[in-house]
């Protein structure tokens, strides 16, 4: 399968804690993108990390990519109740620009 496998499927934490979500894949990619989806809503782009990059930051988000292990992680620091959402990794392979989405991690941040 070309899609990313995300882990965990669900994560429940307290406000202020950090949340880490992982994505693993099987074949070489061009880039990997992380998206957030609030219940029943659209997809919000968070970060894109290219295959020649190892780490990227955006505000409270940190994404790492280990191409030798074919895995990526998304870290949300100092989580807030508003971070409650589903988080998806989406892969782009070198054969074209379509995004291949994983099943997602459902994050619940309790106040």
């Amino acid at each position: 399968s070309q899609q990313g496998e995300e882990d965990p499927q669900a994560l429940s934490i307290q406000e202020g804690e950090n949340a880490t979500m992982n994505c693993s894949y099987k074949t070489s990619i061009n880039n990997l993108q992380w998206y957030r989806q609030n219940s029943g809503r659209g997809l919000v782009h968070l970060i894109l990390i290219r295959s020649n990059e190892r780490e990227k930051h955006s505000g409270r988000l940190r994404v790492t990519l280990d191409t030798s292990k074919k895995s990526s992680s998304l870290l949300i620091t100092a989580s807030r109740a508003a971070d409650t959402a589903s988080y998806f990794c989406a892969l782009i392979y070198n054969q074209g620009g379509k995004l291949i989405f994983g099943q997602g991690t459902e994050l619940s941040v309790k106040p």
Binding site: Q3, N30, N31, Q33, Y35, G40, R41, G42, L43, V44, H45, L48, F88, A90, I92, G96, G97, K98, L99, I100, F101, G102, Q103, G104
Partner: protein, 114 residues
């Protein structure tokens, strides 16, 4: 901040009817996409469009589906004869200069086929 817009937000139709879902991508973007998400499932790629033609399509995108960029700003997805299993959220997305950039998604159209 520029954003992708989609209309309608919700469309209800009878099985066998034709529907057209509309999208206005971000104005200087060159690549356009349709994805769908059946309730409770992952987001699936349908089709990509560049330079006024389809660049890639999935197995889902069969002969009942078509896309068009009729006027240089709108990007439409037509489903000719809807089936119950077409009920899903349909997302339009666009990206800037290459197929390997960030894709920005619209809010989606929820299609319900009765």
């Amino acid at each position: 901040e520029p954003e992708v817009t989609q209309t309608p937000s919700h469309q209800v139709t009878q099985m066998g009817q034709e529907v057209i879902l509309r999208c206005v991508p971000i104005s200087n973007h060159l690549y356009f996409y349709w994805y769908r998400q059946i309730l409770g499932q992952k987001v699936e790629f349908l089709v990509s469009f560049y330079n006024n033609e389809i660049s890639e399509k999935s197995e889902i995108f069969d002969d009942q589906f078509s896309v068009e960029r009729p006027d240089g700003s709108n990007f439409t997805l037509k489903i000719r004869s809807t089936k119950l299993e077409d009920s899903a959220m349909y997302f339009c997305a666009s990206s800037l200069q290459t197929a390997y950039n960030e894709q920005f998604f619209g809010p989606g159209t929820r299609l319900t086929v009765l």
